[in-house]
């Protein structure tokens, strides 16, 4: 049996750093493109990863984006140290946001991030502890099995 090829990457994300918001997702995009993944799959992952990255920047203190790319799926973990989410069901609703005014002035905080992540991923799970932090687990299945 041959060993399954798997690639793991891990990028730190700084909370509150709006100037660099999106940079990590752009780096992840490049990795996925270099691995030759399908454009439509890359798009879904990158859009979801960017929303997750932004949530760390906006709502948490610090965190990271990890990805594991396997022949049949891509998994992403967005982990942060932050306030946690009090009511996950509510947070998942379109339009629900706790983003403060100065963040909304920058064009974020429409309350569409988590719903958009759900739309673009094949599986999504939120683990959160108030006062400690949040971990978002996402899975994306390859539309075509890669060799």
């Amino acid at each position: 049996m041959t060993e399954q090829a798997v690639l793991e990457v891990n990028f730190p994300v700084k909370g509150g750093d709006f100037a660099q918001a999106g940079d990590v997702s752009t780096k992840l995009k490049r990795v996925l493109q270099q691995l030759g993944l399908e454009t439509s799959l890359v798009r879904r992952i990158v859009i979801a990863a960017c929303e997750a990255e932004l949530n760390i920047v906006i709502h948490a203190y610090s965190g990271s984006l990890k990805a594991r790319v396997s022949p049949d799926k891509v998994e992403v973990w967005a982990e942060d140290e932050g306030p946690g989410i009090a009511d996950v069901e509510l947070a998942m609703q379109e339009g629900y946001t706790t983003a403060p005014d100065h963040v909304r002035a920058l064009g974020f905080g429409a309350g569409l991030g988590l719903p958009n992540i759900k739309k673009n991923s094949d599986f999504m799970e939120i683990e959160t502890t108030l006062g400690k932090g949040t971990t978002l687990y996402l899975r994306f299945d390859h539309e075509q099995q890669v060799r």
């Binding site: 798997v6 997702s25 752009t26 030759g36 454009t39 798009r43 990158v46 060799r147």
Partner: protein, 433 residues
């Protein structure tokens, strides 16, 4: 593998391998190998940045010779809107058009006039489109090629319409045939170009099997001749571009003509790349339309123009005031002549290997090499930065010993006697243990 036509070329006899050009290339298409620059034809998008920065004038733009007109009974000049901005503002466009008719052309058709039709078509396409947004203009061929090689996911955002030059060629041919009763083959159509990218668009059009334009002459080449003719010719031809059509020569002019609310007009390749990265992250969905021009300031900043782009822009403003507004008569143009006839296909350059496991292996190898490289991005190895060298190495196009910094460190640390290490990777690994 497909070989692509390129206007941007290298004169090897002039190249001194100075590495100035490799860092300015937006697609990392240039390497210096054995002391001479090499352009990767799959990656080059003909933006001409390397022509601008080469201190030895080793890079140049191929444009057609005037003899390309020989043998055509009717010869049509298609001046780009930027052409008119090359002349002093007291020289009205009508005189320039008349002078062109004395420079070997039998007819002149203003691309700025055809642009009016393209603007109407873009507006109705965007208004009836269901996305994906933002929709991106095709008027600058550098931008279209940039998307093909670096942002293949955005190809579906590209407006499936011809650029004004192609539409002008169709309209010019129709007009000359109607006027003279000649056949299509008797007509030669020649674009007066501000940039090498349009030359490439003529000789290897994207999204279309064959261009209706027969050749492209550099504005810089034809300018002196027309300038001298202006002294002799005192005719004034009618001008159809109008102020709005003429304004396509500068960044923002197209958007004004298209006239939509949620648009962005952006110029300069670095700005465009940064914007497209954001679009790919899904962050600009509220934007409806992007006009993007590779050259700073728009086509007046094209490298084959003669006038300073800032002066040219001021002139456009003055000229515009002298011109009557002419609306384009859309009934003269069948809708299918505006549409790009073939799919824009991606030309992705990023994938390390078609085989996933192999790509993963190469990716890990790149990470390992990045630990060894100095991360100075000095360019001395001939690659634009350390990461590009690492990628070249795993693709088998370079070796670690091309990095002189690593090489020197290794020979100093491990071989104080001065023996050349054969392979510095193994040496470094030995040292780590």
């Amino acid at each position: 593998m497909t070989t692509y036509f390129h206007s941007v070329r290298l004169d090897e006899s002039k190249c001194r391998g100075c590495t100035n050009c490799i860092k300015t290339c937006p697609t990392e298409a240039i390497r210096v190998r054995d002391g001479i620059a090499v352009i990767d034809s799959n990656r080059c998008i003909d933006c001409g940045q390397c022509i601008k920065v080469c201190p030895n004038r080793a890079k140049s733009a191929f444009t057609d010779e005037r003899s390309a007109m020989d043998g055509f009974r009717y010869r049509v000049a298609l001046p780009a809107p930027s052409f008119f901005a090359q002349f002093r503002s007291d020289i009205e466009p009508g005189r320039v058009i008349a002078a062109l008719r004395h420079a070997g052309f039998t007819h002149v058709y203003e691309v700025g006039y055809a642009a009016r039709a393209v603007a109407r078509a873009i507006a109705s396409y965007v208004e009836s489109s269901e996305g994906p947004f933002p929709i991106i203009s095709t008027s600058c061929p550098v931008v279209v090629r940039l998307i093909q090689v670096r942002f293949p996911d955005l190809l579906k955002n590209v407006v499936p319409l011809e650029a004004p030059m192609e539409v002008a060629a169709y309209l010019a041919r129709a007009e000359v045939m109607a006027e003279t009763g000649c056949s299509d083959e008797e007509i030669g159509v020649f674009f007066l170009t501000p940039c090498p990218a349009k030359v490439t668009a003529v000789h290897q059009p994207v999204g279309q099997n064959k261009s209706r334009v027969n050749g492209a002459f550099s504005i810089a080449d034809i300018y002196p001749e027309v300038f001298h003719l202006l002294e002799k010719v005192d005719e004034v031809d009618p001008v159809r571009s109008g102020p709005v059509g003429l304004n396509w020569a500068r960044a923002g002019g197209e958007s004004e003509d298209v006239n939509l609310d949620e648009y962005l007009a952006i110029d300069g390749l670095d700005n465009i790349i940064a914007l497209f990265e954001e679009v790919e992250l899904g962050r600009l969905r509220n934007l409806k339309f992007i006009e993007a021009q590779s050259c700073p300031g728009g086509c007046v900043g094209g490298i084959l123009t003669v006038e300073n782009p800032f002066i040219a822009k001021v002139r456009l403003g003055r000229l515009a005031r002298t011109l009557p507004d002419v609306e384009f008569d859309m009934s003269s143009l069948p809708a299918e002549e505006l549409r790009i006839r073939q799919d824009l296909s991606p030309r992705p350059i990023l994938s390390l290997d078609d085989d996933f496991s192999e790509a993963v292996r190469k990716m890990s190898e790149i990470d390992r090499l990045m630990e060894l490289l100095p991360m100075l991005d000095c360019g001395a190895c001939g690659a634009p930065n350390c990461r590009a060298l690492a990628e070249d190495i795993v693709r088998g196009q370079a070796q670690l010993k091309d990095c002189i910094v690593t090489l020197r460190q290794q020979s100093q640390e491990d071989h104080p006697s001065g023996n050349e290490p054969e392979d510095s990777v193994t040496l470094k690994e030995e040292k780590k243990r």
